[in-house]
């Protein structure tokens, strides 16, 4: 099951857990299933109106910043991180 690393500001919603196991074969499924396990998390990651990740949220799967966002596939043993997006110069 993919392992989601919870950003510090969301750990209040996950009983202080820094990592949680969440079902899902795409980032979208992981976000939805995370919300089922820990209500309130989705609104910190997902923009309902745009149906996309919130502006400024980057998803990193297995060490690489995804260019696919919610559509990014995740493997059974993947690590998923939600980090603030960083701009280059």
């Amino acid at each position: 099951m993919p392992e989601v690393w919870i950003p510090p500001r969301m750990q209040g919603l996950t009983d202080g857990k820094q990592q949680v196991q969440v079902e899902g074969r795409t980032v979208r499924q992981v976000v939805n299933n995370l919300e089922v396990l820990f209500p309130g998390t989705k609104s910190l990651l997902y923009d309902e109106e745009a149906q996309d990740l919130l502006p400024g949220v980057a998803v990193i799967v297995d060490g690489e910043a995804s260019q696919m966002g919610l559509l990014q596939q995740v493997q059974e043993d993947s690590e998923v991180h939600f980090l603030p997006a960083i701009g280059g110069g």
């Binding site: 500001r9 910043a65 260019q67 603030p84």
Partner: protein, 777 residues
């Protein structure tokens, strides 16, 4: 004569075009003055525009009366923020994940209700010539209510500080920080727009295991990218309601988006044409003038050009942040990191969005630190809105981290390179920001330092010291595309959409030439406008050679597939029986069936029509960059002047597609870092006025100040790219400040914790006014 040390090549692929050093395709026009830059465009009937800027650092704009200016013969139009759209004040995903607070972007182009920094544009006037436009500025009457201002992040964070924005939202863990709070949000107002955190492990238990602890605090002040070409933009409306905008930028698709947003028209109505760019370094990712030129041109009914002076560039565009950074490092007596924590405070300028998140994410990244905590604050102040500057956020963070490591190594009596090797991040190392490190060449780069003659050379004199520091930058990718068309003479036109700042036309051509097995000189790269090529993300994040190179590689593969198909058709054989080797098509078993690329190109129209290859990509796996800088300085203990005696840059470049341009990036980054370390600063008085807003007084290093910057490219291929590319343009500016500070410590025995380390500050440190504990700001 250049005397480069042999580069360290660890990638094991053999190439022809890739790795060679062809003359850049655009070089001849640039050195003979024929290349067209932004200011060179002059459509018939052109008007000239100037900006009126606030003389106050913080003032409410009660009214703007342009009637006297408009009455001046030869004046055609005046615009204010009333002439721009008023987009949402919330953070929006503008397009293609280009994050933006559209209202703040609009307000930075032309101030709406308040001027938030000295130099903030409040109006613009278009006239028959520059002189009339200047004269008309003095006839625009602005009624200001001057407000208390705050210039320093530390002051801005205090209760009771003047508020830059009355309703700023504190967006936790957002990268580019706050929008405007909704009307039903009654949270206490603040100048802190963002607070980000990263945590791994348990720092409390980690520090309990530490035998040696170093704590350090540093501060830096705003510095500018210092690009030679000032901003300018020209706009012309057409009869069909479309507008063309010419400007130099790091992304004309962003220019198109911003202009359309500010004018409240669809992006398809704006055609942005990229001109040659005289430097950007992150500072030309932001649009300041294009919407103004378009708004004036619409009002005047004529094309309008608006251009900045150097003073306007300093006062009205974004430098990088002033910062205050604290770090605490813990290690065992045998030199292994056990814990680290840091607190970064970055000035964002007048609107949210400093690069504090970049600094926080990169600060510990070169090292394997099992327990770490980092927090960052994005703070608005009455200064120009900061803009990106080469590896945004990372240089200031490295100044703190890498000087602290020098102190730690000294306490441990360890060689600083050995300490870094012992703790170096490798593939699979957990970064403090959470994710695992992909394959990187940090160990190989540190080994190259150890094995280099510079590292072992005697210092050669008194008051000399040697410093070393490392740097990390994330690197980025993004959407890009390319179109390759085959000409009848066997050459290829390669159209792409990345403004060329660092020689990327050449690297794009090299990608295509390598695939097609033809000379690089036979590929003609062209940077096309927004109407002529598909969406291409900005030239930034050290991403162009990676993403646009990849698009060119794919477009060339498309050409290659079609060429194989045409040869099969001509020879009446299955495509599987045709192979393409080094620009020659040949039958796998019949040596009589053989045709060069050029021969087949001449027959394309009679074998099915023009051959056009295309590709659109958005590849992942950009691969981080790591570099190590080694510098010798000599300090004049009477004057405090620091001279750079010898400087060598070592960097993992993945595969260097064009080694000369990689070396150029390494040298350029080092030189900008030297200026940041020793001379450059926004010298601002208590009214928020910059007192050194010219290149005479804002002291950037010249060739007369510097020795040859030696370079050693270490090639550890990025496995995610077809040729092993990783971005190279930004990380070279990350280590210099720390490396030079460490070298000054080696020379004088004092540690300077503030930038710039100019003669006055060096003397203060020598005289004991700024000891090794650092005074902060």
């Amino acid at each position: 004569m250049l005397d480069y040390k042999p580069n360290v090549v660890l990638s094991n692929q053999e190439f022809n075009a890739v790795g060679s050093r062809p003359i850049r395709h655009d070089g001849a026009d640039k050195v003979t003055g024929k290349a067209l830059y932004s200011a060179d465009i002059r459509p018939p009937g052109l008007l000239y525009a100037k900006m009126l800027r606030s003389p106050h650092a913080h003032a409410r704009i009660k009214s703007i009366d342009a009637s006297r200016a408009l009455a001046l013969p030869g004046v055609h139009a005046v615009v204010t923020s009333d002439d721009l759209a008023k987009p949402s004040g919330f953070i929006v995903d503008q397009a293609e994940r280009a994050l933006n607070n559209a209202r703040f972007t609009s307000n930075n182009v032309l101030a709406e209700d308040k001027a938030l920094y000295r130099g903030h544009a409040v109006a613009a006037v278009a006239a028959d010539n520059w002189h009339l436009a200047e004269q008309a500025l003095s006839l625009i009457d602005v009624d200001y209510e001057v407000l208390p201002a705050v210039f320093d992040a530390g002051e801005a964070m205090k209760d009771g500080s003047p508020l830059v924005h009355e309703r700023l939202a504190n967006q936790q863990n957002g990268s580019r920080g706050g929008g405007i709070r909704s009307n039903d949000d009654n949270e206490k107002s603040t100048n802190v727009s963002d607070h980000c955190e990263f945590r791994i492990g348990d720092i409390e238990s980690g520090f309990k295991d530490a035998d040696v602890i170093v704590e350090k605090e540093v501060s830096t002040v705003a510095v500018h990218q210092g690009y030679i070409e000032p901003h300018s933009a020209t706009a012309m409306w057409h009869s069909d309601g479309n507008v063309t905008v010419w400007s130099s930028s790091q992304g004309h698709f962003s220019v198109q988006e911003t202009t359309a947003l500010m004018l409240d028209i669809p992006v398809s109505k704006v055609r942005a044409i990229p001109m040659e760019i005289g430097g950007g370094f992150g500072g030309k990712l932001t649009s300041y003038l294009e919407p103004v030129a378009a708004a004036l041109a619409k009002k005047a009914g004529k094309p309008v050009k608006v251009a900045m002076s150097r003073t306007e560039v300093f006062e009205g565009t974004g430098p990088t942040s002033g910062t205050n950074i604290r770090v605490k490092l813990g290690a065992t007596k045998d030199g292994k990191f056990v814990a680290a924590e840091a607190r970064l405070v970055f000035e964002a300028g007048a609107y949210p969005g400093s690069p504090v998140t970049g600094g926080a994410a990169c600060m510990f990244a070169p090292y394997d630190i099992p327990n770490a905590y980092i927090e960052g604050y994005d703070v608005v102040v009455n200064r120009p809105k900061t803009a990106a500057y080469r590896a945004p956020g990372a240089p200031a963070a490295a100044f703190c981290m890498e000087t602290a490591i020098d102190e730690l190594s000294e306490k441990l009596d360890m060689d600083p390179v050995e300490f870094r090797l012992l703790n170096s991040a490798k593939e699979g190392t957990r970064r403090a920001s959470g994710p695992l490190m992909p394959p990187v060449g940090f160990v190989e780069t540190l080994e190259a330092v150890k094995n280099h003659p510079h590292y072992k050379a005697p210092l050669g004199g008194p008051n000399r010291g040697r410093g070393v520091a490392s740097g990390y930058w994330t690197n980025y990718s993004g959407p890009s595309n390319a179109v390759a068309t085959v000409n009848a003479d066997g050459t290829v036109n390669l159209v792409e959409g990345s403004p060329d700042i660092g020689g990327t036309r050449a690297t794009a051509a090299q990608h295509a030439a390598e695939v097609l097995g033809i000379p690089v000189e036979d590929v003609s790269p062209l940077v096309a406008d927004t109407a002529s090529i598909g969406y291409t993300s900005n030239t930034g994040g050290s991403g162009v050679t990676f993403k646009t190179g990849w698009a060119c590689y794919e477009a060339a593969l498309d050409v290659k597939r079609q060429m194989i198909g045409r040869a099969a058709k001509i020879w009446e054989v299955p495509e599987d029986d045709v192979e393409y080797v080094d620009g020659v098509l040949q039958h796998t078993s019949d040596p009589e069936l053989r045709m060069t690329f050029s021969q087949l190109a001449a027959r394309q129209n009679t074998t099915g029509g023009p051959i056009v290859g295309s590709a659109g990509v958005n590849p992942g796996g950009a691969g981080p960059a790591l570099g190590v800088h080694l510098v010798d300085v000599e300090v004049d203990s009477e004057t405090g002047k620091v001279e750079i005696v010898r400087y060598t840059v070592f960097q993992d470049a993945g595969k260097a597609i064009h080694p000369s341009y990689v070396e150029g990036q390494m040298q350029g980054g080092a030189v900008q870092g030297i200026g940041w370390a020793l001379n450059e600063e926004y010298f601002v008085n208590d009214q928020g006025q910059m007192l050194n807003s010219s290149f005479l007084d804002y002291r950037m290093p010249t060739s007369l100040d510097l020795p040859m910057i030696d370079t050693v490219i270490v090639e550890v291929a990025n496995p995610s790219h077809p040729y092993g590319v990783r971005g190279v343009g930004e990380v070279p500016i990350v280590p210099p400040m720390a490396a030079i500070a460490n070298a000054i410590h080696g020379a004088l025995g004092v540690r300077i914790d503030q930038l710039p380390m100019n003669p006055g500050r060096v003397l203060e440190s020598l005289w004991g006014n700024n000891g090794s504990n650092g005074s902060g700001r």
